[in-house]
């Protein structure tokens, strides 16, 4: 709420994260990512689409600072730079893993409040904001439930609420809905778009589902595996809001076909 709105969705936005010739080699010699150049603009919804092993999760981990690139640089053009020209990494980000990754000993509200408490907020205030966030993801009344009392989809909602409770500028999602059934996944896709529309964080969504990436994103980055590299950068020209009618429209089918072709090229590359 306290950050500037990104404007209308089609207005050109400033680059928020700039990956410059990023490579990542693991200790065992595997080249996970090779020479990736990618600019992520403020407020956009980007999907990283690719087969497993294409380094999309590795890219997320590097953006979040959990791991460091072996070569290349991640620049944050909007952040202050030090004398050597290195930008400060944006700490203002949320991360959603493939598993809900909740603390089983803590109630839903305690899980959501944790990022705030780690940042030093008083418990009462943190819980108040967390309750609002839980309501926003549709879990009003479940504040005091333990994770084991919630369904898979609800746990994922708690996980999303936790990622968004700090009102981050960036939301990184690593195949968050892959383990859910299709009906639940569709609902969560809609609700995620709704949250994104309201708050306009920059969303980076890793997926191996063509349909999911087309439905959600403004832009699809198709990646190939071994080594992980960018094969195509597609604009999804469909307007928002998107809903079930979009899912059955010819435009959606065309976009899915295009993305599928690019993905097939990436797999056989």
């Amino acid at each position: 709420m306290d950050k500037p709105a990104a404007g209308t969705q089609n207005a050109p936005a400033a680059t928020l994260i700039s990956l410059q010739c990023i490579s990542k080699q693991f200790a065992n010699g595997t080249l996970a990512v090779r020479n990736v150049d990618l600019d992520l603009r403020q407020g956009e919804f980007v999907s990283l689409l690719g087969p497993s092993g294409c380094g999309k999760s590795t890219l997320l981990r590097m953006i979040s600072g959990l791991s460091q690139p072996s070569a290349g640089e991640i620049d944050w053009p909007l952040n202050p730079h030090d004398s050597a020209g290195h930008a400060e990494r944006d700490r203002d980000l949320g991360f959603v893993f493939q598993d809900p990754t909740l603390m089983p000993w803590s109630r839903a509200i305690g899980n959501v409040a944790m990022p705030l408490i780690l940042k030093g907020m008083r418990k009462a205030e943190a819980y108040e904001r967390s309750a609002e966030m839980l309501e926003l993801v549709g879990l009003k009344g479940f504040e005091k439930s333990f994770p084991r009392e919630l369904s898979g989809g609800m746990k994922m909602r708690v996980s999303i609420a936790r990622a968004l409770v700090t009102k981050p500028r960036i939301l990184l999602m690593d195949e968050p809905f892959a383990a859910l059934d299709e009906i639940t996944r569709h609902r969560l896709n809609d609700d995620l778009l709704d949250l994104w529309w309201k708050s306009r964080f920059t969303a980076v969504f890793v997926t191996h589902s063509v349909f999911e990436s087309v439905y959600l994103s403004q832009r699809i980055v198709v990646m190939a595996a071994r080594p992980g590299r960018v094969m195509a950068d597609l604009d999804v020209s469909a307007p928002y809001p998107r809903s079930e009618t979009f899912r059955t429209s010819p435009l959606y089918a065309d976009l899915c076909r295009l993305a599928s072709e690019k993905l097939k090229e990436a797999i056989h590359a």
């Binding site: 609800m154 949250l195 809903s243």
Partner: protein
């Protein structure tokens, strides 16, 4: 943030088919005498077995006319327990005091060391082997040394019981502190949590079930340690524990009294196990799989 909501879409509510299942409903089970009906077989089955065994014992002793200084029957043992209650209860109190002091010391030192070890790999590597040596050396073999060095009998008994009890706490707490979900650790790193926050909000709660299972083992071991050490010390007088009463009774061939003291030690062990299990149940029942009944 713009307040625009997507047209045609109302507030989000978790009504997706699979999500819809509102709050889980736990059917209240029928209770008999305050206990759930399904727990009664768990109590009655071993009870019936015990009654059967004791009756067989009593009958064998009576019909074969086994002298009570070889094998007393359960009824005689029960009578002795009542008759000698004064002496035996004083001794029980002595043994209990040592057991609990040792257990508290074991918890304190075990948990503190476990936390220190997980904060410094270097310290763990250099100290853990010695903790293991202390554990694998039979306490009976070092008890005489400890008694000679320490001088004070009660303190040396306490040290012996502590040596036996502390290792399960240490090792299970170390495993627990290291068994945190890696993605939760990643999350804490992303939010810039410091060591203390990681310990307080993540590692210690994650270690709780492991610590509690260590505690259950340590509770029984503290009693065993206290009894064994007392055998070795063989101290007499008014302030001696149950182990000494057993020794004394065997010298005097008062076998029923020996059995009575034995029964008290067993009951104490069972009580310690029940109490630690109950503590564990209370602390874990809301969230840990081990304490949750599977739906049938």
């Amino acid at each position: 943030m713009s307040d625009a909501t997507l047209p045609g879409r109302t507030m989000i509510t978790a009504t997706d088919g699979t999500d819809a299942g509102a709050m889980p409903v736990f059917a209240e089970e029928r209770r008999i005498l305050g206990l759930p009906a399904s727990t009664w077989p768990n109590i009655l089955a071993p009870l019936a077995m015990g009654v059967l065994f004791l009756s067989a014992w009593e009958l064998t002793v009576r019909f074969r006319e086994i002298p009570h200084y070889i094998l007393p029957g359960p009824i005689l043992i029960a009578k002795t327990l009542v008759a000698d209650w004064g002496t035996l209860s004083t001794s029980l109190w002595v043994t209990l005091r040592i057991t609990f002091a040792a257990l508290i010391a074991a918890v304190t030192v075990g948990v503190a060391l476990a936390i220190i070890f997980t904060q410094s790999r270097w310290l763990e590597k250099s100290l853990l082997p010695y903790a293991i040596i202390l554990q694998v050396t039979p306490v009976v073999s070092i008890a005489p040394l400890i008694i000679i060095w320490v001088g004070d009998v009660n303190l040396s008994l306490l040290i012996c019981a502590w040596i036996v009890a502390f290792f399960p706490i240490l090792s299970s707490t170390i495993i627990g502190l290291n068994s945190v979900d890696h993605n939760l650790l990643n999350l804490f790193q992303i939010y810039g949590a410091n060591r203390w926050q990681g310990l307080r909000y993540l590692r210690i709660p994650a270690a709780l079930p492991f610590f509690l299972s260590g505690l259950k083992i340590a509770g029984g071991l503290a009693l065993i340690g206290a009894v064994v050490a007392e055998y070795v010390a063989g101290s007499g007088g008014n302030a001696s524990g149950l182990a000494y009463r057993i020794l004394e009774a065997s010298y005097q061939l008062r076998i029923p009294r020996m059995f009575a003291a034995l029964v008290m030690i067993s009951l104490t062990g069972i009580a310690i196990f029940l109490v630690t299990s109950y503590i564990s149940h209370l602390l874990l029942r809301r969230w840990h799989e081990s304490a949750i009944k599977r739906e049938t």
